[in-house]
Amino acid sequence: MAVSLSPTNLPSAGITPDQLEQGSSLWRDAWHRLAKNKLALFGGITLVVLGFACVFGPMFSSYSYEQIDLALGASAPSAEHWLGTDTLGRDQLVRILVGGRISIGVGLCATLVALTIGVVYGAVSGFFGGKIDALMMRIVDIMYALPFTIFVILLMVFFGRNIVLLFVAIGAVEWLTMARIVRGQILSLKKMEFIEAAHAMGLGKRRIIFRHMIPNVLGPIIVYTTLTIPAVMLLEAFLSFLGLGVQPPLSSWGVLIKDGAEKMEEFWWLLVFPGTIFSLTLFSLNFLGDGLRDALDVRSAKD
């Protein structure tokens, strides 16, 4: 018998060509459904435009982010400064774009931390099941009820306000929902036949988790990652607003909103523009997340 043992024929290779084809058509279906959802599409396009503007925009501006023009001071939006200038005469459009880099960057890094903790925790809990699962989920339940924002505030005050601590602390708070979702998915996956087959073939637990289960929970993970980013950005801005987040000379949208709120009585544009951009970003992320949820047909276990 000439059974070829090329890697693609090995069952343990994880994805066979068959699965691959099926997989791609699932994603194509989802893409079509997403493209029909106008709000989600609007959200996605807005995010791409904002992202590009924040990363590349400042390079094309004739003003720099720190360029002070005390003679000009705070000026209302005009042809030279589209979104006006702050009290030091700095161009606000550039400041918002550069602040966006920090806000989005912190949002993404903190989400990555939350994602890693949540997925690993949820996968382990769901995979082992039984007493371990009960204990691990009990811990999550208890943590849900704790005033975590308070601890993030304490951490930031006591251990210096550095940006790495900021996103690690935020990420360490926002992983709970992700853990629950992943665990629920894994529990239902465990009963599927192809997992039983993997067990029957004697594959190791680690291999089953990482090669067979996690690829299959990718849909829900993508959806809740999209929905975690706005939550994380909100917490960052909340802390920055209290003066506990990003510190000068760096600046984020939360910092700009805080400065704007202090000076809004005379210079409304300092509050209105950063506030609008920030809200628009949250809005887009939420709609994109909702749209993805519908497109990938993800229902949460507890939502």
Binding site: I142, Y144, A145, L146, P147, T149, I150, F151, I153, L154, V157, F158, F159, P230, L234, A237, F238, F241, L242, G254, I257, K258, G260, A261, M264, E265, W268, L271, V272, G275, F278, S279, L282, F283, N286, F287
Partner: protein, 306 residues
């Protein structure tokens, strides 16, 4: 049910103990003490200050002293920053303001949220539904620290209907409570709409209609009960959110509540005040969560105390 409550109470005690202990040691291991911010004090004065507050004792003894007086007398110790005032006095002074703000905000959240949610569910897929849903989405995406200043800008500075800050007249309550409440009203509206839509399609609603029950009765007596269930389970997170949200609201509107005091005390490194406030907030949140859980089972016959 009683064994459920008993077990949860035990769990609450363990959780609170962990929180108190963790916070106690965390704030003592950080660089810089409550007296380092002051203009340079001589070592002698510093020693006297530390002796006065018991900071010269070994750490474990400070811990047992603190826990002892907390458990026996509910005593949270003296404040480090406000000489001659105890943490208990400060909390008794500031907490009522925060509770009033929180209760009003929760009221706004429930009233506005339920009304919008019911309208959206009953007038499903009409202009009312879209309008209610958009308002709800706005509430979710515009954070309190943007909404608050914007409301002040418009209603206080432009129209001069309200004061921009302060906490004196009943009118001073309007803007802060709206700001803090509207975000949660948005979530409540979304949950109510979803919950009611699910219920309104069920058989017993058709039965009620067939019996000739009026539409109002069907909606409020049968439909709303179903719509309320997801709202009740959201109350736990909402209460926690309103408590922490009040830090920002009290800062924006300069309200003399415990939220602003907490942030200030953290900046001041007023250890005992920080610790006392954390203990209070944690106790409040876990207790309210227990109550929410009990109400939830009581409202929904499908759930059981486990």
């Amino acid at each position: 049910m009683f064994s459920f409550i008993f077990r949860r109470l035990l769990q609450i005690i363990v959780v609170l103990w962990v929180i108190i202990t963790a916070t106690f040691f965390m704030i003592r291991f950080v660089p810089g003490g409550p007296f380092t911010a002051e203009k340079a004090v001589t070592p002698e004065i510093l020693r006297n200050l530390e002796a006065h507050y018991g900071l010269n004792k070994p750490l474990w003894q400070q811990y047992t002293d603190y826990m002892g007086s907390l458990i026996l007398r509910g005593d949270l110790g003296p404040s480090f920053k406000y000489a001659s005032r105890t943490v208990n006095e400060i909390i008794a002074d500031k907490l009522p303001v925060s509770i009033e703000l929180g209760a009003l905000s929760l009221g706004v959240a429930l009233v506005v949220g339920l009304i919008l949610g019911v309208i959206a569910a009953v007038k499903r897929n009409t202009v009312f539904d879209y309008l209610a849903s958009s308002v709800a989405m706005m509430g979710i995406c515009v954070p309190t620290f943007v909404l608050g200043p914007l409301l002040v800008l418009f209603f206080a500075i432009q129209l001069r209907w309200f004061n921009a800050s302060g906490w004196y007249t009943p009118a001073d309550r309007v803007l802060p409570a709206l700001t803090l409440g509207l975000v949660y009203a948005a979530y409540v509206a979304r949950l109510t709409r979803g919950g009611m839509l699910e219920v309104l399609n069920q058989d017993y609603i058709r039965t009620a209609r067939a019996k000739g029950a009026s539409e109002i009765r069907v909606i409020f007596r049968h439909g709303l009960r179903g719509g309320l269930l997801p709202v009740v389970s959201f109350l736990g997170p909402a209460i926690a959110g309103i408590l922490t949200g009040s830090f920002v609201i009290e800062t924006i509107f300069q309200i003399p509540g415990l939220g602003r005091e907490f942030v200030q005390s953290a900046f001041n490194r007023d250890y005992t005040l920080v610790l006392g406030t954390v203990i209070l907030y944690a106790t409040l949140i876990v207790t309210l969560n227990l109550i929410v859980d009990i109400v939830q089972v009581w409202l929904n016959p499908k759930l059981k105390f486990e």
